[in-house]
């Protein structure tokens, strides 16, 4: 048990915004062996234009948050290819699952980095289709980060209330 406890003893606390940025870079590095570059970070509204496929995950607790990871389909296809060696040619169940799992990992990792024991992670939801929009009933003003990566561009839109 002592050995297991050391895993969390080393955790330090960072603010939710940095937690999401760090968690995103880490997930790409570890899951895809892929480095990412932040292109632009700007204040945004939830009613924005997303890419072809988007995963949404909620964090609830003293601080409430929503994280959206949105991918052009070619980026999502290449992510699947890197993980399991299958290159999809359409957005199917496997692609949705992969994008959802990405949001799960980023959300979970961000939660741990904030070191807030009240925070709980929801299950991811995945939306796809051309020009889709997502209504997020949140009072938090979101931040949008555009990324480029070895497997293509993607976007992370997230906001926290109480932060």
């Amino acid at each position: 048990m002592t050995e297991l406890m050391e895993v969390s003893e080393t955790a330090s606390t960072i603010n939710p915004v940095d937690a999401v940025l760090d968690a995103t870079a880490e997930a790409f590095e570890i899951m895809l062996s892929c480095s990412v570059t932040k292109l632009e970070l700007q204040a945004q509204t939830w009613d924005t234009s997303f890419n072809d496929i988007t995963a949404v995950i909620a964090l609830t607790g003293t601080i409430n948050g929503t994280i959206c990871l949105s991918f052009p389909k070619q980026t999502a296809f290449e992510a699947v290819n890197r993980m399991v060696g299958i290159l999809p040619d359409e957005i199917d169940a496997l692609v949705c699952d992969a994008v959802g799992e990405f949001a799960n990992v980023v959300g979970g990792s961000a939660k741990d980095k904030t070191n807030d024991p009240t925070m709980k992670l929801g299950l991811p939801n995945v939306i796809h289709g051309e020009d889709h929009h997502i209504e997020i009933p949140s009072s938090a003003s979101p931040v949008c980060v555009e990324y480029d990566s070895d497997i293509g561009p993607f976007m992370v839109l997230f906001g926290f209330s109480g932060a």
Binding site: V84, D97, G108, S109, N115, L121
Partner: protein, 121 residues
Amino acid sequence: MNILVVDDSAMTRMVAKKTLNSLGFDNVQEGEDGVQALEIFKEQSIDVVFTDWNMPNMNGLELLIEIRKINKDVPIIMVTTEGSRSKIVEAVQNGINDYLVKPFTPDSLKEKLTKWVSVTA
């Protein structure tokens, strides 16, 4: 060696299975939630369990508790995004053997498996 991988993400199960196969472990069973995994566990002789925590129907902690009612010894390793101290304590108190926080690398999965295979051998 019969290994049970439990995760509601098909992608994660595929990645885990691919890694385990590459290490020479060909008998890998898959469960997409705790309910399905418990059925597999009761029907087959399972040597090691890797399970996610957050899953629909029956989560990984509930699965752990159910398996411990019928088997106190089988190594169970939680592979999850839940890496907080309180969660680890809860899992340890309910009989988890080891813990791997997502995202995981193939090497970290291999390390955990090697550790528990050598312990039980």
